[in-house]
């Protein structure tokens, strides 16, 4: 008969009080687990979306990350095909990399001269098939529920998509048949005093198609940007559709185009370069290792290249993690305090009611440390029982929530996503919650246990 057996029986001595204490701890465990599971789901979703969109790592020319936004073309990676080859052929990197693809960032003015409307744009140029492969990444196992369809193909070098906001501004909603999108008023209606022309005079109007060539009847816009040499350059983007962006600011500027078109816009007839090489790994856990290996490779080859990971490229990611971490921590502390006071109260009542019993076992020869151990064991058993029960209830509830078909729209996202609570398969959360509650419960019983151990035998026996 050990201390734990006695502790176990003492817990069931006052069933109602123990049940209430158990319930308080179970509720605390369930709250922490469900919220923790929800936060995990958000963070997994955020990481998945980020990695799908921008990869794990990006390679830039030194200085591009800090200054490239002002003049991306000036920070182009020359002979990027060689760099791509070097990375692909590296024995250490090869097994880690899932997608390696060049990308180009372009800033300029987008215009629909037929409608006499224009605005600045932020453009990304890429290889469509690589982008589709990147969107299929599911390294965290959240599923491909938000897998996008891309209205672009590798063969369609003049095609692309724009944000819904930009389509509205450039009067392309009707032409692209975009739902819930109305073409804006013309500039002549809004500001009749402004001159009618902007950069449309720079555009060479396509000659009428010859009888043999197919006429591209897709809606189109014109993109104006300064080439690396500083000369204005214009290309025509054939619109295949729209891609709604989560933030309005981006949605009003967004242009996605084929890499070839972006290079023609930014480099004209000069050497085609890219502003970055996007690397998507099989596993996020390989980021640090892959980054180290890339740096080693670039140093060995004398390449003036910099490597940044997705947390640096998307500061929002770390901000969201920090925010949810703070909320989760706050909730956990509140629950911890409730558990602490509940256990302290229960154990203090127990000590008070069992004062004579404490005197008896002390008289029989149990040391003070034995009394302390007995009450600590009760706190421990209470913690183990309630934390285990809390885990079971939390797992059950998360199972129900995950199958309830609930959805929600995360911040900066466009489409609603299933409301998921990732408790099962989240060993860190489960273990942290279980051990945390057990430790807290045992710790909470320390104060009453010390009080019991300090009792003088004769004083305790008088309570009989």
């Amino acid at each position: 008969m050990t201390t734990l057996v006695i502790a176990w029986r003492n817990i069931f001595r006052n069933r109602r009080r123990s049940a209430l204490t158990l319930l308080a701890i179970v509720v605390g465990a369930v709250a922490v687990l469900l919220f923790g599971g929800f936060v995990t789901s958000i963070l997994f979703g955020l990481q998945t979306n980020t990695v799908r969109a921008i990869g794990h790592l990006q390679v830039f020319r030194q200085g591009y990350f800090e200054f490239g936004a002002g003049k991306p073309g000036a920070y182009g990676i020359k002979d990027y095909a060689r760099v791509l080859r070097l990375i692909r052929d590296d024995a250490a990197l090869q097994p880690l990399i899932r997608v390696l693809t060049p990308t180009l960032q372009v800033f300029g003015i987008a215009g629909n001269f037929a409608e006499n409307t224009s605005r600045t744009f932020y453009g990304r140029a890429l290889i469509p098939s690589d982008r589709l492969r990147m969107w299929a990444w599911d390294g965290l196992g959240i599923g491909n529920t938000s897998l996008r369809q891309l209205a672009m193909s590798d063969d369609d070098r003049d095609g692309g998509v724009i944000g819904v906001g930009l389509a509205r501004i450039l009067h392309e909603c009707a032409a692209l048949k975009v739902l819930n999108c109305t073409d804006g008023p013309s500039e002549a209606d809004v500001s009749p005093d402004l001159p009618a022309e902007d950069f449309s005079s720079l555009i060479e109007i396509d000659p009428p198609a010859s009888s043999g060539a197919a006429v591209d009847r897709r809606p189109k816009i014109d993109l104006l940007a300064a080439t690396v040499a500083g000369a204005p350059n214009v290309v025509t983007l054939q619109l295949n559709g729209v891609e709604r962006q989560g933030a309005k600011e981006l949605d009003d500027n967004y242009v996605l185009m084929h890499l070839d078109l972006g290079q023609r816009l930014l480099y004209g007839r000069g050497e085609h370069q890219v502003t970055g090489l996007v690397i998507q790994l099989h596993h996020s856990s390989d980021v640090a290792g892959a980054r180290r290996e890339l740096r080693r490779l670039f140093a060995a080859q004398g390449l003036d290249l910099d490597v940044r990971d997705y947390t640096e490229l998307n500061p929002f990611y770390l901000q969201v993690i920090a925010m949810f971490g703070a909320i989760f921590g706050f909730l956990a502390v509140i629950m911890g305090v409730i558990v602490l006071f509940t256990v302290v109260n229960t154990m203090s009542m127990s000590v008070m009611e069992r004062t004579a019993e404490i005197g008896t076992i002390r008289a029989l020869g149990l040391r003070r440390s034995g009394v302390r151990r007995l009450f600590l064991a009760e706190g421990l058993v209470l913690g183990v029982l309630s934390a285990s029960l809390g885990l079971l209830v939390g797992l059950g509830l998360s199972f129900l929530v995950n199958r309830a078909g609930l959805t929600w729209t995360p911040p900066t996202s466009v489409d609603p996503v299933p409301l998921r609570v990732m408790v099962a398969g989240n060993p860190l959360l489960l273990a942290g919650c279980w051990f945390g509650l057990v430790a807290l419960s045992a710790l909470s019983s320390l104060l009453p246990a010390n009080k019991a151990a300090r009792l003088e035998v004769v004083d305790a026996l008088r309570h009989g």
């Binding site: 008969m1 008896t360 008289a363 020869g365 149990l366 034995g370």
Partner: protein, 241 residues
Amino acid sequence: MTRTSSLPPPGDIVVRLRDVSKTYLLGAVAVPGLHELSLEIGRATFSVIVGPSGSGKTTLLNLIGGIDRPSAGTVEVAGQDLGGLGDDRRSDFRARNIGFIFQSFNLIPVLSAYENVEYPLLLTRVAAAERRRRVMALLDAVGIGDQSRRRPNQMSGGQRQRVAIARALVKDPVLVLADEPTANLDSRTGAQIIALMHAMQTRCRTSFVVSSHDPQVMEQADETFTIRDGALIDRHCRATS
């Protein structure tokens, strides 16, 4: 006045108190419990401490049992000066040498009769087989061998006190202290318990020190110590035939 007949020889002394005083502090007021009390109790005797309520009987038992410390004087049990022991060593000393029988039985409610009797042996780390042998032998000896699985709340007062007697004796102590052991029992059960205690004392050759008002208890006494106002006023030994 102390009447003495047939004092125990020095080597057979189990309990020796020398000029023991105990003063309690009630706020700023000092309340005397015992005053310069000296006595000796022989080995394997059935001693009874009598006296009116508040005379200091329980205080005296607490000091002999090492669960309280005297304000002055020395308490020796089985040749060990209890004042020289720290708290843990006094606990260990009690665990090995002193058995307690309480007025309210003081059994541990979550333990069965068997487990209550076994508990002192767990404190002294007696091997499991030996524990079982000793516990069952004592439960049989006190007449409740068939009740061993019962919890205290499933037993009568007399049965509980039998368990308490077995618990006190199971570790084969040199001394058993019983504070008003029949006070919560009816006279018939009380008589049975006293008879049992005396029988067990004879069988186990253990010293019993019992505080009581009960004339039935006094009839069984080898020695009777009478105290009043914290002082020993009479010591009476039953003449051996």
